[in-house]
Symmetry: C2
Subunit: 344 residues, 2 copies
């Protein structure tokens, strides 16, 4: 990588179904120079997250879609290489939504400095960043887990799910994970300390999930949708809560399942169990960021919450890694190493 | 009706699909005599409500099913004809769950005295009773309507829906009803003052509903399920709330609709709109009964909330009337006149 080149990954086309390589374009421009009040930062770590699939489509959602030809959006850890902004100095390590590119030009709005002495800087993309905050705030405000309840967590080895389940354990719940392979399930149960973990690829997935939840399900953390949701549906207890955080199994779908329409089953469960199903995004709880940082960094320091990162090297490999993420090929928080970590 | 005979309507068989006459049995026994601490009350008005369909089935729900051979359950207004209970005197007018029968024997638990001077005693089955309280508490605690929002109310001419919509108007909402005929819609719009009302039997129901909600839907009061829910689904705004009170269109269903499985559409809306869908029953808010009685009776006195009762004469006609209720044949709160109202 030459200092004179800024590689950017652009949205080349809106995906039909699963994104493919041709939906992305690697462009090269020159490294920008900061104007008045601006700074330029070199990307160190780029976060890849399922929500980005939604941004690639031209559908109504909580965020505006990316335009064709725009740099793909994303949170990243970066280092200031030139600054005309008095709040940021050359060498500062930042977190901000600087996108899929080697260098970002910004006025600094929305960027914050990281303290490398506090935690590995990559964790600001995972357990101490948006995914960890999503888990913390969504579980606290919508899941409302109580001691002795059963919490089922979809995508349990992922960045959000792994945190949700560990917080549930701290709150005294029986925690049952759902993940995409025996290897992931072993990690979830053995390393993260979930009470059980079932692979959704198991031929008897629904039966094993039911057996792992002998007292029914009080909280279901929805990250996935599709068959995982439908396997949990018969298990809900009275007053069950379903924080809807993501629906990764649906993001690439181009048609509805040709099956009986199960909305009546779902609504009957909502009514007869007096359930609550509630969607949210992490920004809905932005005022709890300070509480989250303090609590979660304490848990991580004490070893009560563990995290796993899945590093991919090279910005040019971000599209492939992202396509794999949507198929569950990652194992832990997916992070692209774009340039060397100067704190290591 | 002889004083010596107590007619009772029993559950004869669990319905398959829509209840039919043979699912009920009219039995005659003698009028009971009160034992120590007991009283006997003659039924004046019997309430018929959609929830009773659920009690006839042997499915898991919030209430235990009725057993075959049991008297059909239901709230009623009655008058004490004999009492060995110091809290109740002969002649007292009561409300209680005394069931589908001429006379009820009870120890008085769960019964309360009505003051005929306060309001017509039949209203304790409707606007000042369980349906009114359902509307009041469900809308306040789950619907949370705000001034300027759009509230869509299913089964808008019914006992609950008519109250929900009028409360919504008092709260400053644009209120759009859905009802089952042009005549009902005219009543809802003209008499009850909803901003609009659409018949779900209109061939262009979904289109007309969308046109009546130019600013989308913030609160949808779910009484019905099925196609009404699916017509509202594309209209939800961010942070929409759906109190799930009933699903009358589903109660008689024996199979799921053979259509694409639309759970993914629903869950996508929940996520991208950060919606909340929540089931409840009126007893969840029992502590708000006093507040409800005070507020609602004030609104009724001031003419701000109107109600319509649909009277059917004769206990023997209760099964037919109930079967009609499940098909939307009633028009207003369905009440069976079992014996003459002594307050009129």
């Amino acid at each position: 990588m030459s200092k004179e080149t800024n590689r950017q990954i652009l949205l080349a086309a809106r995906p039909e179904g699963a994104p493919k390589a041709s939906d992305f374009e690697l462009a090269e421009t020159s490294v920008p120079a900061p104007g008045e009040g601006e700074l330029v930062a070199r990307t160190i770590y780029l976060s890849l997250d399922p929500y980005m699939r939604g941004r690639m489509s031209n559908m109504q959602s909580y965020a505006k879609p990316v335009e064709i030809g725009d740099v793909m959006p994303g949170g990243a850890v970066s280092q200031v290489v030139a600054s005309n902004n008095p709040k940021f100095a050359t060498g500062d390590i930042l977190f901000g939504y600087s996108g899929w590119q080697d260098y970002a030009l910004t006025n600094g709005k929305g960027f914050r400095k990281l303290d490398p002495a506090r935690a590995p800087i990559s964790t600001s993309l995972g357990i101490l960043g948006m995914p960890g905050m999503t888990a913390y705030a969504g579980l606290k405000n919508i899941g409302e887990p109580k001691e002795g309840e059963t919490l089922v967590v979809a995508a349990a080895s992922g960045a959000v799910g792994s945190a949700v389940g560990q917080i549930g354990r701290i709150r005294g719940c029986r925690v049952v994970g759902v993940a995409g392979s025996a290897e992931k399930c072993e990690f979830v149960a053995e390393e993260l300390g979930f009470d059980a973990c079932i692979s959704h690829r198991d031929p008897d997935f629904a039966g094993k999930l039911a057996a792992a939840c002998p007292n029914g399900v009080d909280v279901y953390w929805e990250n996935v949708g599709g068959k995982v949701f439908e396997a949990v549906l018969p298990l809900f207890n009275h007053f069950a809560r379903v924080p809807v955080c993501g629906l990764i199994a649906q993001y690439n779908a181009t048609a509805l399942p040709e099956a009986p329409n199960k909305i009546p089953v779902l609504m009957r469960s909502v009514l007869s169990n007096r359930m609550r199903i509630q969607g949210f995004i992490v920004w809905d709880f932005a005022d709890q960021e300070g509480e989250f940082q303090e609590t979660m960094s304490g848990w991580v320091r004490e070893g009560r919450v563990k995290y796993r990162e899945d590093f991919v090297d090279g910005l040019e490999n971000a599209p492939d890694a992202f396509m794999g993420l949507l198929e569950g090929k990652n194992f832990g928080k997916l992070v692209v190493r774009v340039s060397p970590d100067p704190t290591q």
